[in-house]
């Protein structure tokens, strides 16, 4: 289970606390269930026995015990809780800054110091401390990657902070955990944690403007339609920030914040009829494009590596 196998420093602290709580919980539950079952079995009335049992009204020592022992146990747990909170929230000086912005229903990521802007699929370097700023442009969302081990909300008008260090490589899926409207279900994200060299290479590729061939037919379709009212592609006269940045769209593995894998055929369907695939998504249907234009557009977008 994801809970017991976190890949971040912070998640490990939380997972350890949770394991301890589970052990205490299991002992308590065993006590209650054992007591309950034993009582029901041992003290079940035999049919026809109309006698009344001894009328015990209470026992002060017992009552004190089951008040004080749980209270003390919780007191110890509380100390560990505060320790874990401090450890999870401890900011590291010189951490790499990352900004995550929630939108209905997709994720925007920026490394402001590295000049990287991307969407729905994020690369992070392992073993590096990140200082994440969480924001929202519309309603409340919540940034959660189960293997990271903890979440934090993205509240409009407010910046929440999250310290994070991913310690293992891999691809980890994430979700939005605050109900944010019609397509809350398909506000998923994918995080690729990779060694420093690979991450640096990814950053270099992301920083570069889109590799475009002037006058390619797909590029013309993109620029002449209303695509540019919402989407940005650096290197082209397209700078709108309503929808996801598409500068390196072809390098992502999913479409529509996780609803489809990023293949040519899926992209064709998505452009033609996003409302069937993800009803309510803010992307309109481009069902008037000719097959030729659509193919050219798909070629162009998938070529944006």
């Amino acid at each position: 289970m994801e809970s017991f196998d976190p890949v971040t420093r912070q998640g490990l602290d939380i997972s350890n606390l949770y394991r301890l709580e589970l052990i205490i919980s299991a002992l308590l539950l065993a006590l209650v269930l054992g007591w309950l079952i034993l009582a029901l079995v041992r003290f079940r009335a035999t049919p026809g026995d109309a006698s009344e049992p001894a009328q015990v009204r209470g026992n002060r020592n017992l009552e004190l015990t089951w008040t004080i022992v749980p209270a003390l146990t919780l007191g110890v747990v509380f100390v560990l809780v505060v320790q874990t909170m401090r450890s999870v929230d401890a900011a590291t000086p010189g951490a790499t800054r990352l900004q995550v912005v929630g939108h209905q229903w997709w994720w925007e990521y920026q490394y402001p110091d590295l000049g990287v802007v991307t969407a729905n699929e994020l690369h992070v370097p392992v073993g590096t401390d990140l200082a994440i700023d969480l924001e929202s442009r519309d309603v409340i969302h919540s940034f959660y990657v189960p293997r990271f081990g903890f979440m934090r909300d993205m509240v409009p008008g407010k910046t929440n902070r999250m310290a994070l260090r991913v310690d293992r490589t891999g691809t980890f899926d994430g979700v939005c955990t605050q109900y944010c409207g019609l397509q809350h279900a398909w506000m998923r994200q994918r995080i690729v944690a990779e060694p420093r060299e690979l991450f640096d290479a990814w950053v270099a590729a992301q920083r570069a403007p889109a590799v475009v061939t002037a006058g390619s037919p797909g590029q013309q379709v993109f620029l002449q339609n209303t695509c540019v009212s919402c989407h940005a592609i650096r290197g082209l006269p397209a700078a709108a920030q309503v929808g996801p940045d598409l500068t390196h769209f072809g390098s992502r593995t999913t479409l529509g914040a996780g609803v489809l894998t990023n293949t040519r055929e899926n992209l064709r369907q998505w452009i033609r009829d996003p409302q069937t695939i993800k009803p309510g998504a803010l992307m309109p249907a481009f069902d008037t494009l000719s097959d030729q234009d659509l193919n050219a557009l798909v070629d162009f977008l998938e070529g944006l590596k």
Binding site: M1, E2, F4, D13, I14, L17, Y18, E21, S25, L28, L29, L36, A39, L40, F43, R44, A45, E52, P53, A54, Q55, R57, G58, N59, L62, E63, W66, T67, A71, L74, V77, F78, V81, V82, T84, M85, V88, Q104, V139, I140, S142, Y144, P146, F150, M151, R152, D153, V155, P156, G157, K158, T177, Y179, G181, L182, H184, A185, R188, P279, G280
Partner: protein, 739 residues
């Protein structure tokens, strides 16, 4: 006020009852109203359960297309809202309504007509809530309706309005029930029934009534602010001009967490009746069980922000609310241990009520333990709003409250209908329900730990997710089957000719000392003497002293005075919510601020209002001396002073409006107009009440202490309105200048 005893008329009891439909529409008998509550809430339970089955069909397999996302979102919103506001809470209040007057040996609730009003507000509030389906725009923003998702422009259709307006209506009824139950239990107990002789279910109903009054007005205030934002252009929760969506969460959960205990405490009460009776032993540690209930009530008002550990409140607040939430586990655990100790060395009869009670202990413990996990802040960060959360609250409210309700249903059904429920069908019902419940909800813990978020209409085909979800859906259908068995069992029982005995379970509280069902006046014969919390046990086993101590009247205050005090308590929560919003926003407005208000002028007119407290006091004194002319003079003077104050407020509003200053100008005016406006509305209501009394007085209807209760109630309310203005004026006009 009102320290001299004057006779108030006893609570009215309906005379001869009309038959048929008219009986049910016109009834003010607490037993009829209790039955109306129970029938209505069972109907809503079937509806809410049907919604849950649709949800489970959609989630049975990954990427299912059985429901579109809009329908799914409406169904989970309505399922939660229905089960909380139209099922568990009113079902338990319905039991209280029926059982509490019987348990304390009263003829009826303290205010029978108010009681009927409460029920009808529940029904019509429920209809308003469901009207959204007929209109094609059902509420679809979750049962807590977080801003700004619930605000324009994110919810342009009237979906949210059905939610807010429907619940505003039911909430008024619930507060009235809270007042009614509280006064009933404080004032109408049988001779000999002091606080330590009170049955535990009645105790828990009393504590619940207190929580209703303390908590529900905070929801009302939040919903009014939300509606003002949506329709008047106010900015309470609008981040684009600095409004604070987190304020909504604070106001909502200040209501929302006590609400959990409003739905749990009466369930604890049912448990504390059923477990002793079916173990043939008194409740183990009665004083501790009662004290832990009181502790839970007060603590529950301090834990609300544990629902908000992920919103970024800061470590100090998170640690503090974490601590208070962990502490509340202690008195809750005490109750579980007390029930277990009651079972120990008993003669346990495993009849259906006891089966449900035993399952309650196991399931509620699981829900309580996962509750502690959510109280420990970092674990909450890990599991918040995943299916772990869904598992947790269903174990508390389903495996806990609902199972206690079912225990209570089998326990009290013979008393209410005069027919026993079938034991064979009862056991079938129980096992289907218990297996179905655990198969549905236990795997949700695992899905949560795997990272499935709640409130998603579908999910990708990740390893294990489809299989676990499918099993949960099967469990849900077992529960559906269990409900059908229960309804069939009820139908069979009601058709049976064999009548239930007065005391089929050989139980010990007063509701079993009358016929099943009880006569209209509740007790045909004289009540048995009450010297402990088990009067019927004492009747069989204990030599009762001939002189029963005259306990049972807790206060010198008469019922209407206790009632208005309880109402004022709930009004205080409402104003406190508005004041919190004002304090947060008073410095945040851009442009118009407190400095632009005409403080000296308002101060002068405030003196008129303050003076009216003096004149209403003088009026009361004259009435005590039976000086009706003097009374009327001072009473009319009070009205004049109040009217002068209110006129000035209207003039002030008109001047501001003329200058273009409205509720939507900025955050300051949003909070200013809402706070002072609601105070003005209370002055207006007070003036109307004063006018009604004045008309009665003019008609010469005040001889020999008549209407004393009304005069007392109106004057106390008027003092409250003045007192609120002292606070509002100081905060709005004076503090604003200092800052």
């Amino acid at each position: 006020v009102a320290t001299v005893a004057a006779p108030y008329p006893a609570p009215e009891v309906a005379p001869a009852r009309p038959g048929g439909l008219l009986r049910w529409v016109s009834t003010v008998d607490h037993k009829d109203i209790g039955i109306l509550y129970l029938v209505t809430t069972v109907a809503f339970f079937v509806l809410g359960g049907f919604e849950a089955l649709l949800i489970r069909i959609q989630l049975a397999v990954p990427r299912n297309t059985f429901l579109d996302p809009g329908a799914y979102n409406a169904l989970f919103t309505m399922h939660g809202t229905t089960m909380i506001f139209l099922v568990v809470m009113p079902l338990l209040l319905g039991f209280s309504n029926y059982i509490v007057p019987l348990q304390i040996g009263a003829r009826d609730m303290a205010f029978p007509r108010l009681n009927a009003l409460s029920y009808w507000l529940l029904l019509f509030g429920g209809i308003i809530l469901y009207w959204g389906f007929l209109n094609g725009t059902p509420p679809d923003i979750g049962w807590f309706s977080y801003a700004p998702l619930s605000e324009r422009p994110f919810s342009l259709e009237p979906n949210v309005d059905y939610w807010a307006l429907g619940l505003l209506v039911t909430s008024v009824g619930t507060i009235a029930t809270g007042v009614n139950l509280l006064v009933t239990i404080v004032k109408l107990r049988a001779t000999g029934m002091g606080w330590f002789q009170l049955p535990v279910f009645t105790w828990m109903s009393l504590i619940t009534a207190f929580l209703v009054l303390a908590a529900i007005p905070s929801l009302t205030a939040a919903q009014i602010m939300l509606l003002f934002d949506r329709y008047l252009g106010a900015h309470f929760f609008d981040p684009s001009v600095g409004g604070d969506p987190i304020l909504y969460q604070h106001l909502f959960w200040y209501f929302g967490h006590p609400e959990v205990y409003i739905m749990a405490l009466p369930a604890f009460g049912i448990m504390s009746e059923v477990v002793p009776v079916f173990s043939r032993k008194p409740l183990f540690g009665y004083p501790v069980v009662v004290a832990s209930g009181i502790a839970i009530a007060f603590l529950s008002l301090t834990v609300w922000a544990h629902h908000m550990f992920t919103v970024g409140m800061g470590q100090l607040a998170e640690a503090a609310f974490g601590l208070s939430s962990m502490i509340i586990a202690v008195p809750t655990g005490v109750k579980v241990f007390s029930w277990l100790a009651t079972l120990w060395r008993g003669r346990i009869r495993l009849s259906t009520p006891m089966l449900y009670a035993a399952a309650f202990i196991a399931q509620f413990t699981i829900g309580g333990i996962s509750g502690v996990h959510f109280a420990t802040v970092p674990v909450d960060w890990h599991t918040h709003d995943t299916y772990y959360n869904v598992a947790h609250f269903h174990y508390v409210l389903g495996g806990g409250s609902l199972f206690a309700i079912l225990a209570g249903t089998y326990y009290w059904f013979p008393k209410i209908t005069g027919r026993m429920l079938g034991e064979r069908l009862g056991r079938l019902n129980f096992w289907l329900m218990a297996v179905g419940f655990n198969v549905t909800f236990f795997p949700m813990h695992i899905l949560g730990l795997m990272g499935q978020p709640r409130r998603t209409y579908t999910y990708p085909d990740l390893p294990g997710w489809g299989a676990i979800n499918f099993v949960e859906t099967l469990g849900a259908f077992l529960m559906g089957l269990a409900v059908l068995v229960l309804l069939w069992n009820m139908r069979q029982s009601l058709q049976r000719t064999e009548r239930a005995p007065d005391n089929p379970w050989n139980a010990w509280t007063l509701e079993w000392a009358t016929s099943s069902p009880p006569p209209p006046e509740n007790f045909a014969a004289t009540l048995p003497p009450v010297t402990s919390n088990r009067p019927l046990w004492d009747l069989q086993h204990v030599v009762i002293p001939t002189a029963v101590p005259r306990r049972g009247r807790g206060t010198q205050w008469r019922a209407p005075i206790v009632g208005i005090a309880a109402f004022i308590f709930s009004e205080s929560t409402f104003f406190a919510a508005l004041i919190v919003a004002f304090l947060e926003y008073r410095m945040r407005g851009i442009g118009f601020s407190a400095h632009d208000l005409d403080m000296p002028r308002t101060f002068i007119f405030s003196l008129f209002l303050f003076a009216s407290s003096f004149t209403v006091y003088q009026a009361e004194r004259r009435l005590l001396r039976d000086d009706q002319r003097g009374f009327l003079t001072f009473w009319l003077l009070t009205m004049l002073l109040g009217a002068v104050f209110l006129t000035n407020q209207v003039v002030e509003y008109a001047r501001l409006y003329g200058e273009g200053v409205t509720i939507s100008t900025n955050l300051f005016t949003t909070a200013f107009f809402t706070l002072t406006g609601f105070h003005g509305l209370h002055v207006l209501v007070g003036l109307i009440a004063l006018a009604v009394i004045a008309l009665l007085a003019r008609a010469g209807d005040f001889g020999a202490g008549r209407h004393r209760a009304a005069v007392d109630v109106v004057s106390i309310y008027w003092h409250f309105v003045d007192a609120v203005w002292v606070v509002v004026f100081s905060l709005v006009y004076v503090l604003g200048l200092l800052a």
